[in-house]
Chain length 414, copies 2
Amino acid sequence: MKAAIITIGDEILIGQITDTNSVWIARQLNDLGIVVGEMVSISDDPDHIRITLDRLIGRYKLLLMTGGLGPTKDDLTKQTLAAYFGGRLVMDDEILHDIEDFFKARGRKIIESNRMQAMIPDTCEAFPNHHGTAPGMWFEKDDTILISMPGVPYEMKGIMVDYTIPRLKELFKFPEVVHKVIMTQGVPESYLAEMIRNWESNLPACVKLAYLPRPGIVRLRLTVTGKCVKESKVILDKLINELSGIISVHIFGFDDEQLEKVLGRELRERKLGLAVAESCTGGNIAHLITSVPGSSDYFRGSMVAYHNEIKSDILDVQQSSLNEFGAVSQSVAEQMVMGVMKSFGAETGIATTGIAGPGGGTTEKPIGTTWISVAYGDNIYSEEFHFGGTRERIIEQASITALNLLRRLVIGTL
Amino acid sequence: MKAAIITIGDEILIGQITDTNSVWIARQLNDLGIVVGEMVSISDDPDHIRITLDRLIGRYKLLLMTGGLGPTKDDLTKQTLAAYFGGRLVMDDEILHDIEDFFKARGRKIIESNRMQAMIPDTCEAFPNHHGTAPGMWFEKDDTILISMPGVPYEMKGIMVDYTIPRLKELFKFPEVVHKVIMTQGVPESYLAEMIRNWESNLPACVKLAYLPRPGIVRLRLTVTGKCVKESKVILDKLINELSGIISVHIFGFDDEQLEKVLGRELRERKLGLAVAESCTGGNIAHLITSVPGSSDYFRGSMVAYHNEIKSDILDVQQSSLNEFGAVSQSVAEQMVMGVMKSFGAETGIATTGIAGPGGGTTEKPIGTTWISVAYGDNIYSEEFHFGGTRERIIEQASITALNLLRRLVIGTL
């Protein structure tokens, strides 16, 4: 089965917001074995919606659409769909009831534009929205199914998980595709490709490899299709085993598991606490760690020390080291990690100190120069890095690299 | 002039990466007055690329394409474009020289697949890539221009800024469109729409309003077109002046300026230092603040206190308060902000303590319950919030709300 994803909204086309709905929906469909043939973003304009539907209906069996359903005047999608699928808007009492409950539960006053969101085309089936007011709508035409959902990501996700996906599973038996993603850290894409070239050349015909880079990380995705699917477990186990023989220390996990989650699991299993002292990463490492539910089991806390006086006053970094070696130095990074572990009573620690730019670079220490220290008990490892790119990218790469160094120190592969 | 944006890559269609290139390109085009009619993501498949080009060439005058140009085997776009525009791949010596320099400057070894990136269709003009190895390519056919650029965002941005945009400006005189975005915090979209309904109804015909919500923030975009453009400054000044009369305290800035940047400016102007104590936001406030270049001028540092013992040991929160009121309480938030301001010697402070979920909620204090305290000298303001949505969304809303509360306290509108 092939699907297309349509996102609607002028705010996407003028570059005001990033469309994150398409990627999320694509992942869900992919897991079901539905191939996404294309994603398209168009304006909330009746003509453009009609032209796009004319082009895609019949060509794809499934169309998932988000956006254009807000309570304000500039949202025209519902009216357009009602006309396209030959229906008229009628009040749906159950949906109205849901919307009224939604406001009651939050102690908020309902207004007329909210109530109007219960007006639904009579040619569709409405799906309740438990996280907002615009319901989902399921239409069928010429053997194509179209599901319209609100553009607010967590409202759309709720409708997908509660209604759209279960309904699709009910209606169709999906062909099988098996994916396995190998997560690597610390080696750029082209180097990695060179390291595993022979292995890649010998992949079975029904297995495809894709390189998926993001800052600091390269994901290797193996896709098994066709007749191999039945034996995919055996095939993938063998391939991953071979790959581990070549790049084992660079592999930190599988299937899009985040590094902060993998590190957290290693710490939890060993009952170790973690404290972080951040200078150039400015809180991003703590933010990544605490984005994982349950991180309070091992995360003690973090200190962002943006000034030298804070480094010396609170983290006990010696003023003489700051003077002699500068804030971006091995000596300061190591004192920072020891200081924060002591303050927070943690068995493991991470410290970063570097120049994220765009200011502050020198010939000796250009922008991107970063010292990272990780420690596990008395065992300290420090390394100097030269990250490239923008401030944002340098912060991201330094954070990811630091998390992985601690992971490797804790499991004993550093 | 109308444009379409094409992003290429299986990793987008299977939901492995979010396409952030389209939004960035759209914003640049929009600033030039070029209307983006659609964005489409397709696979790195020669047939699909050809079909899409057939559909869009002639319909749009300008096509911007990213992706599919990597050094690995699964990138087929360059070959497809060479065939489509009737050329063959030849070695471009200048580009080869650039690529060799790129590796030399980074002290990295060049490999054959990197060198092959200098093979360019002889029917296009190549644009150097100063941040990577795949050059940009400018093609023309049937009065349509197609510019192919690499998919790595900062490489694409470099080519856009250095070559694509200047070349477009050289070739065309763009019609004028004027946008003004009003940034608001603290009022949900539907409430805001209700508050400004009368004002909205009286907008001139050549001015359009759009509501652009994101967690904690609603942006109001005014677009002036047609004959009004000449007087747009007068028209916009008048409209914003009227709007300020209705929702002034909720407006924190204009034109997508981030709250963390606005707060930073207010602090810098007043020569005030800032310290942050984070519990539920877990480092995200520090991360937002330090994402602004030059934030070291006012940001002293942050303490992420994820455990009660850290709150009492390092931030001097009284154990009796933790016992009596719990960690998520006004008393603890206020002691946290006072403690961190003292430790870091800062004149202003922010503290957050709350339940981000998915665990930890109770009937009395459900998930999303958050106390925020902000302080400026001896002046402390505290408020309890009930944020909705996922862990990520609660963290984001709490962070944004905290930044705005401190901004309002500092400028005297709280």
